[in-house]
Symmetry: C2
Subunit: 333 residues, 2 copies
Amino acid sequence: MTIKELATALNMSTTTVSRVLTGQEKKYRISEKTAERVRAMATTHHFAPNQIARNLRLQKTNTIGLIIPDISNPFFANLARTVELELRKRNKMVLLCDTKDETTLEEESLSLLLGRKVDGLLVAPVGKKWKHLVQNTAVPMVLIDRYFEGKDIPFVATDNYYGAYQATSFLIDRGHHNIACIQGIRGTSPNENRILGYQKAMHDYKETAKHIQLVGNDYSIENGYQSTKELLSLPETPTAIFALNNQIALGAMKAIKEIGLKIPNDISLIAFDEQPYFELLSPSLTAIKQPLEAIGRTAVSMLFEVLEGKNVTNAILKPMFIERDSVTKNPSP
Amino acid sequence: MTIKELATALNMSTTTVSRVLTGQEKKYRISEKTAERVRAMATTHHFAPNQIARNLRLQKTNTIGLIIPDISNPFFANLARTVELELRKRNKMVLLCDTKDETTLEEESLSLLLGRKVDGLLVAPVGKKWKHLVQNTAVPMVLIDRYFEGKDIPFVATDNYYGAYQATSFLIDRGHHNIACIQGIRGTSPNENRILGYQKAMHDYKETAKHIQLVGNDYSIENGYQSTKELLSLPETPTAIFALNNQIALGAMKAIKEIGLKIPNDISLIAFDEQPYFELLSPSLTAIKQPLEAIGRTAVSMLFEVLEGKNVTNAILKPMFIERDSVTKNPSP
DNA sequence: TATAATTGCACAATCGATTGTGCAATTTAC
DNA sequence: GTAAATTGCACAATCGATTGTGCAATTATA
């Protein structure tokens, strides 16, 4: 059923029908009697306007593109959920793209979404390249989680530096000197800022902290696993590992278990990212919880401000340190 | 940049430009020289056709609606990922809707997606109501995970009966008589089939199995937690709990830990659904792994068959039982 | 009663692509 | 050299909505 058919059935012009159905009957002086007839007919026929046609005419799709590196990572899955629900409240739908942390796929996703004339973009970029992102000046965009310093694209992220500093200091306070850090994707903002926080803490406590050790290069279970195996085969093994996301932590635990070491006695562990099961592990896992819901909400409201032509300021939200049982007080070596 | 502007710049008709850019230059006898000029101009101007206009003209959006009860549940997040990547290969994009396991939101999502003229629908329904789903006869649909018996909507699901039967038999074999089952959403197909598998096993081994006990009514951590507390405060507590999804299992573990009992000595646990961290728990958690990727792939290819007008047969895929350490051999009572 | 103001609605253009058909210009056939 | 066939491209309609403007019919004003 199209508006034309509806108009024919009512013996009116499509103009009148459209104006009633878009609530403009007052503005265009459609009589209440006519308006009522239109509404009645529309409901009995279950008429719903063709959104494609509207989009074309109105030059607006009420669609937001959401680009995510890995929707199977619970961090992003939760983010996606908040974003979707928040956008729905504002009458937008989301076109989802998973980039598998590949810049190529991200570039492709971007141009596909632009071709579909999304009204806005919410992007958790891979974070290694940014040129394709700044090329788009046409549609408003807000970055989530990973961003680019000085590139003038608004973003919302966790205070990664703060979180990492806090976690590392905690380890040093507990007597750890040799703390290894397993990185995510190098060169991406969260990773670099976490590294900076880690390094700063190591430096601030340099009388006690031994040396800086960075390994790994991916936000994956596999990287956590391999890097941990590597670390634990070193002549001088670290007494604590700082895993820069939940997947790395998972891989690390797997390796530690396989090697037969015990957390926290043989080795301590802290994860950046919180997961519901962390408290159930034995021992429970000390973690830095990112304010996921706040990030999602903020990203959406920032995007709307940009859509409304307002200026926005980037948001950096504080994470929360959750102390549990995966860190010893007295590391052996 | 529109095709019209491009045509003006080339001093040609939009017809010719369109035909070249859609690869129909042969069919409509556009000279190679002209075609080459068009292509060159298109690339220098970075021309990309307005998909909205194409969609309207072609009556096809190359968009699939994906309706999911809870994208933050790793089961569905993984599913969504497979589906998204698989659809992208076939040049479709996905409009995502999260229904929070609420039928109302599902109905709303459905009509929004239909209004947007999606070419097809992949729905993991809440599963309690189906009328709104069968009302849609216009666009092809495939159900995932939860389905409706005899309602003639094609689906792909795990063999829940089989999985539950296997898990329950395993518990009985290990000497458990009093096995409680914490349900997900009652009345939904996976839940009912798992229950049937559980009951059948209990019945088949009735000399040894004691009685059937069903509690709970949600696929949530909270339900797992509350139901477990309830079970463990019974005069005659079960020796094993069968949790009907990963979230329930998580809640159950939380409750068990809080009460101070030990798995598996005090109580055994099996989860329907596998998660990467299950093997890292102490003890590691015995689980039934659903063939997630296969489900996603199958759903997509089934949808395409429907789109191509073929007949499809429902797919019921076998899960895999993964024995770990969360079940004792000799339950005490 | 004649004129002005208001009411109530429809015509037709528009958004940006695609496509059936028609018509010169060129080439081929005889 | 003329008719027929082929080549190369453009006109205009179409998809389904929205909207500036215009024009009767009705009501108000003087």
